[in-house]
């Protein structure tokens, strides 16, 4: 079947914060850019980010990027690459000021500067006291950021392909990336989008879990596409469970609540974090707080009739702080937890939230993979930024507010790198004759499938397995069984059947194609988790409770083909400062 082809300088897949920051710079540079998104840009999940974006502006309390860097390295449990972390923390103030200049409606201090609040793991003076580093627009920072970037892209005349879904990556004989195959959702038309540079900014994959703070569309498409094209996925065992998802609904309550002075209590009304993190207490980093909560619940100090959650108390902050700094949280609590937090505490549980792993890149956003003996060779023409990428600045555990920062710093940097790379590469390479074949055969399989299971059944099975076998605490027998079970579900996913064969806005087909991606991510996560015999950051093994730097201070790489794992060293050397040496992590 002949597939229509269009040619661009750059194809950006994803219009969340990361994709739109990059797209803005690319459009302003006058390049011919296509930006694809499954949903209208402002519906991307960046819109749900609440608490803030980290930068050492020092508007409220003294701060500098060295402290921010230290906190990020420590927060990552030393698995983060220190060159990339230095790059990000140094660039933070500049990119945040840029957002303000773009029109982002930050809250203000009395002197008219950007308002900053405390956030988990962000400290002054190399870990001493909490610092106010999270730049916030009430508790709607992601909404403010995403809409501002969209508005700026409207001004720059960026060419959006709205409700287009990328299906697969195009790679040639040399392994170079030449674009994507994509489908217009409204018409089901398939097209080749050829480009000299392809940038993935497809966001997270929180939907591999049953209880998740993520949107329905967070299905790890970029990772699935990369994995199918032979590119490894890095550090997939590290999934962040956010301490405060609303019990039952999963909807997030920002850490900013604790930043503003809220705290967690168990059924005895005890502020239990004092026992686990005497210094930072409720503002310890997320992995620490989530494990503490899980422990409280396991040991019978949970709240409610099933003793299966704890409570987040904030009524003491008073009406004024709640209605000015946390209005969105109040709205969520009333709607999804049926409590008014100005009066009653909110029932919360640790909830799957953020994928630290992703497509391996260097700090210029260039995708890197092992090749010919080198662990980090550049994949020509391929770039990734945002939650789908693993730079790695978050290592084994991300600090709150460092993700929005990651999107903006590396979105901008990848665009700069692309502009430079394209100068020395003026002509598109010849497309291989089978460029669209993988996508077409996936679609043909769905079209012809008989007697298959439904997508919702198989998806539910996958989420159950991930939830039960790969949670906050991970047990050896559960992991071994989890690996077997998730591979079984993967087999079932190969024969899903959709009843709806219409060409018009077929959301059943979209969901089936998304499941192919989810299942790649789920297998990578389970496989890498079963293999890593230590506890570090978001990966807590019951049988190996300690960090093991002698054997495991290394990044994992999962290859879809043969589901095999490889490892590569952590970059411990920063760009200009001294390495932060390995230490035991206490908060």
């Amino acid at each position: 079947m002949a597939v229509v082809k269009r040619t661009f300088d750059v194809v950006v897949v994803g219009a969340g914060g990361a994709g739109m920051r990059a797209a803005l710079a690319l459009s302003e540079a006058g390049l011919k850019v296509a930006v694809l998104s499954k949903v209208f840009p402002t519906r991307s999940h960046t819109v749900a980010a609440q608490g803030g974006i980290a930068a050492s502006l020092g508007n409220v309390s003294e701060d500098n990027w060295h402290w921010h860097m230290y906190d990020t390295v420590k927060g990552s449990d030393y698995l983060g690459d220190q060159d990339a972390i230095e790059f990000m923390c140094r660039a933070a103030p500049e990119v945040v000021y840029e957002l303000e200049h773009f029109g982002m409606p930050f809250d203000r201090t009395d002197s008219g500067k950007i308002y900053q609040r405390p956030f988990g793991g962000h400290m002054q003076d190399y870990g001493k006291n909490p610092v106010q580093r999270a730049c916030a627009a009430a508790d709607r920072t992601g909404h403010a950021l995403l809409h501002t970037l969209y508005q700026r892209n409207v001004q720059a005349n960026t060419n959006f392909f709205v409700e287009w879904m990328a299906l697969d990556l195009i790679r040639d004989q040399d392994g170079d990336v030449l674009g994507v195959v994509a489908m217009e959702i409204e018409t089901s038309e398939v097209m080749i989008l050829q480009a000299r540079a392809t940038l993935f900014a497809t966001g997270g994959a929180g939907r591999i879990f049953q209880a998740s703070t993520n949107a329905y569309i967070n299905t790890g498409d970029g990772l699935g596409m990369a994995a199918r094209a032979g590119i490894p996925l890095e550090d997939m065992e590290f999934f962040q469970f956010h301490p405060t998802g609303v019990h039952g609904a999963g909807v997030l309550i920002t850490e900013g609540v604790r930043g503003e002075g809220g705290y967690l209590i168990n059924k005895d009304g005890e502020r239990f974090m004092s026992r686990y993190a005497p210094n930072a207490k409720d503002l310890a980093s997320r992995d620490v707080v989530s494990r503490a909560m899980a422990t409280e619940i396991k040991e019978g100090r949970g709240c409610g009739k099933d003793a299966d959650h704890v409570l987040l108390k904030l009524d003491h902050l008073g009406e004024d702080v709640i209605s000015h700094r946390l209005p969105g949280i109040r709205e969520i609590a009333i709607k999804f937890a049926h409590v008014d937090p100005a009066k009653d505490p909110i029932p919360v549980v640790p909830t799957a939230h953020y994928m630290m792993g992703g497509i391996p890149t260097n700090y210029h956003g260039q995708v890197v993979a092992p090749y010919d003996g080198g662990p980090e060779e550049i994949v020509q023409g391929f770039y990734a930024v945002g939650e789908c990428a693993c730079v790695s600045v978050h290592g084994a555990n991300r600090l709150g507010c460092n993700s929005l920062l990651d999107l903006i710093v590396f979105g901008r940097e990848a665009a700069r790198q692309i502009i430079e790379d394209l100068k020395s590469n003026p002509h598109p390479k010849q497309l291989p004759s089978d460029a669209a074949d993988r996508s077409l055969s996936r679609l043909a399989r769905l079209e012809g499938q008989k007697n298959g299971e439904s997508v919702s059944e198989v998806g539910a099975a996958m989420r159950r397995v991930m939830q039960a076998h790969c949670g906050v605490f991970r047990f050896p027998d559960l992991l071994a069984e989890g690996v077997r079970k998730i591979y079984e579900v993967a087999e079932r996913a190969k024969c899903t059947e959709i009843k709806d064969k219409s060409k018009v806005f077929n959301t059943a087909r979209v969901e089936a194609l998304e499941l192919d991606n989810l299942i790649e991510v789920a297998q990578a996560t389970m496989t890498a988790a079963a293999a890593r015999q230590e506890s570090r950051g978001g990966h807590a093994r019951d049988d190996f409770p300690d960090r093991d730097d002698d054997n495991w201070l290394k990044h994992s790489l999962y290859f879809s083909e043969g589901r095999h794992l490889d490892y590569k060293p952590v970059r411990l050397k920063p760009l200009t400062v001294e390495t932060f040496p390995l230490k035991t992590r206490v908060y």
Partner: protein
Amino acid sequence: MKFRIYRYNPETDTQPSMQSFDLNLEAGDAMLLDALVMLKAQDDSLGFRRSCREGVCGSDAMNINGRNGLACITPLSSLKQPIELRPLPGLPVIRDLIVDMTQFFKQYHSIKPYLINNDPPPETERLQSPKERAEIDGLYECILCACCTTSCPSFWWNPDKFVGPSGLLQAYRFIADSRDQATAERLDNLEDPYRLFRCHTIMNCVDVCPKELNPTQAIGRIKGLMSKRTV
């Protein structure tokens, strides 16, 4: 639980129809979107948009028992049965509950929805007092769901000429921002018998906004600025 849902697929149907669905579900704490997801598991051809499931992305606006709203934050317990679901009124239907939003976004784009400030930016942030910043509260939070605009009779009659409540709310968001320097240009852009002045203060928009924003008030303020500058 009983539903009646608008169905239309241009490939196979000459006319839209209402289809009855039955779902074995206690309302409990569930939202309307949860029910739709369950219905889709039974019949995968049912078409609707959704993403965040928490009322911030603006995807799942639809007409629920005659009133526009977001399915994800509408509790089932608040709805009379059979629950009647239709696509947002006044926009072309692509399929089932999915409408073509082109016209809505065109109007949004027409108001130049971006900050205009031609001074070279300072090294750090532009200063804005908390009081100045408070002027855009109740404006910047819009999620572009189109509940308001598609409930507005003036928009139904003149979708190509009347900006509509959502677009006008955003126009005022930039006028009210102390950092924006293009108020005059923005007012010129709306000085037209249709673009702004088709609003007859019917207030449907305020009633339905799921974020409790008040487009009518914003429109009133723009009209106020407009009349101030003519005298």
